[in-house]
Symmetry: C2
Subunit: 291 residues, 2 copies
């Protein structure tokens, strides 16, 4: 059986693992994202020390270039994350470790992991959305990971924003009050002056947050008609949030599209990833199998 390496490359940390799946991880490491050279250097060192592996899958924050024929395949392109734009990840990992590399978004990797081993088993059209420092989304349509011109960038949809209720202008450097600009962990911290994890007691925070998350979820339902939507990421670890999102999605759909379980079945329809915070790195291992 092949042994794969997985890298979930994020804006605050890189999760690395070696193994075959959720029940067969030989080694793991969490590497804080610092300078590009240092982060990639420590990642290479981990695989040199704990490997060898037959291939590596990288699930990377985006936007990324995953066109195999492109000279900038494996690069991060125009990210709002400071210092992250126009950097090579995939080519350098491939060169320095001399193994085949599969490169996709962090959220498509997570979706693949959930499809193989988690909450999307048996489904062929579904989404994985992460609400963390930023907001990203990926998934499958009819059994294939979502790729098109580029790849999905759910976080940059525009959603309704009532500035009388919430005068906060949003944090996205490209769009201001896009979905990520209003509803990411970064937006929560900027709006309320404290990170989400310290705001557990405030109803107003989570009511507004659930409303914004639901607005984006409704757009995804209308565009893709997924069979299930998995909501992961650090912000979703607040336990009161998901039930509020259910109520808001139900209210916003208002009975439209009867065959979607927007009534009592919604708790199984908009739900949590089964692999928890390991969706991304396990998905990267799954991705390695496609390299």
């Amino acid at each position: 059986m092949s042994v794969y390496g997985g890298i979930e490359a994020g804006g605050s940390k890189w999760e690395c693992a070696i193994g075959t799946g959720p029940d067969g991880l030989h080694a793991t490491a969490t590497i804080p994202t610092t300078t590009h050279e240092e982060t990639i250097g420590r990642t290479v060192a981990f695989f040199e020390q704990e490997g060898p592996v037959d291939a590596i899958g990288i699930g990377c924050f985006g936007p990324i270039d995953r066109r195999l024929a492109s000279p900038t395949w494996g690069h991060i392109t125009t990210t709002p994350k400071p210092g992250g734009a126009h950097t090579d990840v995939g080519q350098e990992i491939r060169r320095r470790l001399s193994v085949p590399v599969a490169f996709d978004t962090d959220v498509n990797a997570a979706a693949l992991g959930e499809h193989l081993w988690g909450a999307a088993r048996g489904l062929d059209t579904f989404c994985y959305i992460t609400v963390g420092t930023g907001i990203g989304g990926g998934g499958m349509a009819r059994g294939r990971l979502l790729h098109g011109r580029v790849h999905p960038e759910f976080g940059h949809m525009r959603i309704p924003h009532d500035r009388e209720v919430d005068p906060f202008p949003g944090v996205c450097p490209y769009h201001g009050d896009c979905w990520e600009g209003l509803a990411s962990g970064g937006a929560i911290e900027a709006r309320w002056g404290r990170p989400a994890i310290e705001l557990g007691g405030s109803e107003a925070v989570w009511e507004l947050q659930a409303h914004y998350i639901a607005l984006g979820v409704v757009c995804v339902i209308c565009v893709l008609s997924p069979e299930r939507i998995l909501l992961g990421g650090g912000v979703m670890s607040q336990p009161k949030l998901l039930p509020l999102v259910h109520r808001e999605v139900h209210g916003l759909m208002n009975g439209y599209i009867e065959t979607a379980p927007v009534g009592e079945g919604i708790a199984g329809y908009v739900t949590s990833p089964a692999l928890g915070s390991r969706s991304g790195v396990l998905g990267a291992i799954a991705l390695a199998g496609t390299a």
Copy 2:
């Protein structure tokens, strides 16, 4: 070669055709949508008189039930269109004409037609959006028509709505100011008191209209990352509209996702269907080949 029948079942008329494709139509008919019995009766009579056909494809306004195992396969479910909800189309056509029937949304049928014979040839991930009486969207992801839990319902996304600029509350009976509620032909007529076709001279009408259309297009770009977006439907026949939509999409994307042609390439990226108003009925003929 098989001869197919195609039906584009709409809220104001049913377009029927018999043939093999754009260059081989033997007979066509336009039947105004009146009562369900009358409309379907005239449709059946057309095929009885002009047929026989080997199979029929139906592209129908939605939401529809297209799950083959469902007892209500072939039905329209919860449509905002008056008198259209909970009616059987596919089963009755199949029974009365004794031919295999393929049943999908009008917009997925149109997408299939454009994929075979029109502006989406050679693409495997693209969207077809109609802005007419209502707004609908369909398309393909990686070579397969978009189906999931149900089917896409682009028109019911929520988009930003600045009520100071546009106090109009929207016309969607389910959602008020969803995309269809703000930007459909029905919305234009209700907001301005005259149908779109009589408003050609007013810059304000088309500036606002382009802004709303672009907001929905941006959501579709962010969710699906299509290689091309085809904008059809009666409202798009206003010639000044598409260039304004290009400008708005370009502004809203603001340089994000570099590899999407949101700069000078946008005129080929967000463009018109090549089959014009025949996308739907030709697509229905294409759909018949899958029955």
